[in-house]
């Protein structure tokens, strides 16, 4: 099944929603100071993207195009409420940490972008896979950013200390700057830089 593979693998690299299409940045950056909330956020977004794509694709013949944005928002909001209640019930601490950013999954541009660009014109199984792939592409970037920020910012991963204490005795210090919000932007900027240097066809030309 080459089609399945293509739909899931492409968004991880070639058409990554965050670094290539520049969608869904907002929530991506605020939750990446530590690895755990980033993982939870990535999983939530993947679930919402996949299922909203599936539902909208099933409904696509019945939605009048003038009010489709509102219909899409209602579907997405319902899914997000489910996720929010689920997190509150089973992972209360993480849901407190994510605070308003769970709600902001609704306006995550990746979801609306995939609904508009893919689900409205494709079958349900394909849409589901496309949503899954894009969600995973988003999670991938989230996890990479969170990995570096937590490792260098607090010297831990998922809360476990990684940098041995002999380093600290030798004078190593955690880089407090990594925890601050602006560093998330700079880390994503560097990821984009590396990706585009390795794939020159993605480069934009600014000097018109």
């Amino acid at each position: 099944m080459p089609n399945v593979k293509k739909l899931i693998i492409e968004p991880l690299r070639k058409t990554n929603p965050v670094t290539v299409l520049v969608l869904g940045i907002c929530s991506c950056l605020a939750v990446t100071a530590q690895l755990k909330p980033a993982l939870v956020m990535g999983a939530s977004v993947t679930v919402v993207t996949a299922f909203s794509n599936l539902i909208i694709s099933l409904l696509r013949k019945g939605i009048p195009s003038r009010i489709r944005i509102i219909v899409q928002l209602v579907v997405v909001a319902t899914l997000v409420i489910l996720i929010d209640q689920f997190l509150k019930a089973f992972a209360y601490n993480v849901s407190k940490q994510l605070s308003v950013y769970v709600g902001l999954i609704i306006t995550n541009c990746i979801i609306m972008g995939r609904l508009e660009a893919f689900a409205l014109s494709h079958g349900s199984w394909e849409s589901f896979l496309d949503g899954l792939g894009n969600g995973l592409g988003y999670s991938l970037i989230l996890v990479i950013v969170a990995f570096f920020r937590e490792l260098f910012g607090s010297g831990t991963l998922l809360g476990y200390p990684i940098i041995p204490s002999s380093f600290y005795e030798a004078g190593y210090q955690n880089n407090g700057l990594m925890i601050l919000p602006p560093m998330a932007l700079i880390v994503v900027g560097i990821i984009i830089w590396i990706q585009r240097t390795r794939n020159p066809e993605m480069q934009e030309n600014n000097q018109k």
Binding site: T19, A77, P181, M183, G189
Partner: protein, 204 residues
């Protein structure tokens, strides 16, 4: 004086872009020239000033735990707060649609300036985010909510006009090939964010 503090705080200290990363998608997509970005910034401010107070009232009289007590004391134990997201986003989408119609009918010149941006705004995270922050912080009256909306909107306007101006100048500078376009915008936003952190300690 309280309101003025809140205003300054929401423009500079709690800046939507630099402190919370809200509305980044349109911030990066529409910040190529100062003129269009100022248009989008104004539209966002406008929508925030209207939606935040409306959502405040909805939250106070409909959603918050025990908010339905004004209908009858029997409803005092009802908690509808799980409906927050769906109701807020529906209200925002509806208000944006209504505003679009009103502006189109009464001030065509403003419509031609803001028109193309208005539909974009319904899915701008800054709008929903501002309403959710308003709910989280529990303001005591509508005035505070409106000032918070205005301040956040102006902060967003300031940020997008700032980056647009920098990007206009950037066209003449030599940037490594892989960083051109989006990459450098990210890094500049990060640096601007660090600059804005200077406001963080300020207590008025």
């Amino acid at each position: 004086m309280e309101l003025f503090n809140l205003f300054i705080k929401s423009v500079f200290v709690d800046n939507m872009i630099f402190a919370y990363f809200l509305g980044m998608c349109s911030y990066l997509a529409v910040s190529k020239t100062v003129k269009t970005s100022a248009g989008l910034g104004l539209a966002v401010t406008f929508v925030l000033v209207v939606t935040v107070p409306v959502n405040y009232l909805v939250n106070k009289y409909l959603l918050a735990p025990g908010a339905l007590a004004w209908i009858s004391p029997k409803l005092a134990t009802v908690d509808l707060s799980f409906l927050t997201y769906i109701l807020f986003i529906a209200i925002i989408a509806a208000i944006v649609q209504i505003l679009e119609m009103i502006i189109e009918t009464f001030t065509p010149s403003l419509y031609s300036a803001l028109g193309i941006f208005l539909p974009l705004i319904a899915v701008n995270c800054a709008i929903l985010g501002c309403s959710l922050f308003m709910q989280e912080r529990g303001f005591s009256n509508v005035g505070e909510a409106a000032v918070f909306g205005l301040g956040s909107g102006l902060g967003w306007l300031l940020a997008i006009v700032g980056i647009a101006a920098i990007r206009e100048k950037l066209r003449y500078s030599k940037i490594p090939k892989g960083l051109q376009g989006v990459g450098i915008s990210f890094i500049i936003t990060g640096l601007m964010g660090i600059a804005f952190m200077a406001f963080m300690g300020i207590k008025l």
